[in-house]
Amino acid sequence: MTVTYEEALQRYEPVFGLETHVELGTTTKLFCGCPAVFGAEPNSRVCPVCLGLPGSLPAANRRAIEYTIKIGLALHCGIASWCRFARKNYFYPDMPKNFQISQYDEPLCTDGYLDVLVGGRTVRVGIERVHLEEDTGKSLHVGGATGRIHGAEYSLVDYNRAGIPLVEIVTKPVPGTGFGAPGVAKAYVTELRDLLRSLGVSDVRMEEGSLRCDVNTSLSVRGSGVWGTRTETKNVNSLRSVERAVRSEIERQAAVLDGGGRVIQETRHFHEDTGVTTSGRSKEEAQDYRYFPEPDLVPVAPPAEWVEEIRASLPELPSARRARLQAQWSLSGLEFEALHNAGAVGVVEETVLAGASPADARKWWLGELARRANDAGVDVSSLPITPQAVARVAALVASGTLNDRLAREVIDGVLDGEGTPDEVVAARGLAVVSDEGALTAAVDEAIAANPGVAARIRDGKTSAAGVLIGAVMKATRGKADAARVKALILERLT
């Protein structure tokens, strides 16, 4: 039995939540001095501490604690004045010591929120907790069909990643987003990624696994007010997949419920290629992990002065920056979101700083340049033209040296590597005809050649001037300032 997304939403209200794991960009691992790097040769960034050899003793990386507090503050969380690491015991070989050092009932940061921009409005996503733990090693599964853990004959483990500081950010359940739930989930991860990048605490590369998501989804029968059983979908490692995973779980759970079945609380795996989830191992109960306070690490009790120092070091956060720029540029939420989605906020800001009006900057980056970027299949910000050059083109238009058509030719020249806008204007001879004598002559010629039109304008039909403007533009091969031409025509005929 299959249920379409639209059918599912008629009967059920989705509730989702996200657990996001972020590798911190520290130089070294969380509890030892091994370099925390991606892509080194297997088992070359390991030591007795991260291999869990007898007699070794972990010591927490101060910068990892600082980064975690920084993330917590940026998410408006409270920072614990005293908390402990916890030992999570389990026997998968992705950790060499049979446990992972994590945090359990005493997370470093709790109870915050992140404002997410979606569809021109702001959705506030509650943050349950932010805690610090160590990442696990990486396993290669050998034998079996697809390199998956199921059906493998044996596994090969590389512990370079084991012990890299990992921050887990857990949202509160997000109800009430209805049809837009998958989009809100994606927008949350996008916003979180931008925030973490602006904080400089992680390189947040999803494709390299430095940002990974687990998505919890449940359905509530519309109007019942009762939340259903949730599933946890692992392995959701791109922004697009976040959206697809929520959507696919909504459809699957709706089909189960419609068929009279019940949703089982379980871990599911997301498959990038097909966009569907399949059942994974049934989760061990929390008590099976036998969490207890980590005896090898002393408690973390960040002094209030340190927390305030970190708070003072926070950069302007993306949501605050957005609000500031949106107000400065007098844009609506949707207009700003269009800039945001085009990845053009930064270049527009720089273009405005270089002297262009916000309206001009936006017009060029969202219009002509977005079209070129789209044709070339690149981000608008990576086009070979600087915001300063765009501001100069806008200034040349404003001063009447260029009209829009010539300005587009100048943009062509700059994109083709012919130099600055002024160099392109000089080399291609693109400036509008500013010689008043030549312009007047062309206007007089146009009037003489179109006596009927001229007569209509004399009778007050000034809208007919367009025909004459066109004739002048043709005569000057587009190099006339249309506004000036119109003024000259009206001067003569009215």
């Binding site: 070359s44 927490a60 101060r62 604690i65 396993s139």
Partner: protein, 97 residues
């Protein structure tokens, strides 16, 4: 009884220790006795005293984010029961679905 035979069997499974029925019959009552003995501590614990996790009273012992030398891969793998492709080779993790 503080711990049942079933709970011991469950713990053994989590710990990946294969116990025979005879071993379970033998070990479960012993474990129960041990836990009952240790539980006597609870009789003397006074109210209002928080459980102790650390005896030193220290907090905030940190390390600077400075790199230290690693082991060579050869040294790191020297105690592994099996090695393949410069990685630790471990037995099958999950059974067939």
């Amino acid at each position: 009884m503080a711990i049942t035979r079933d709970e011991v069997a469950h713990l053994a499974r989590l710990s990946r220790i294969a116990l025979t029925d005879a071993e379970l019959d033998h070990l479960a009552p012993q474990l129960d006795q041990i836990i009952t003995a240790v539980a006597q501590v609870q009789e003397v614990a006074a109210e209002g005293i928080p459980p102790t996790s650390h005896a030193t009273g220290l907090v905030n012992v940190y390390r600077d984010d400075e790199p230290r030398p690693c082991l060579t891969p050869a040294d790191a793998l020297s105690q592994a029961p099996a090695v393949e492709q410069q990685r630790f080779r471990v037995p099958r993790i999950l059974a067939e679905e």
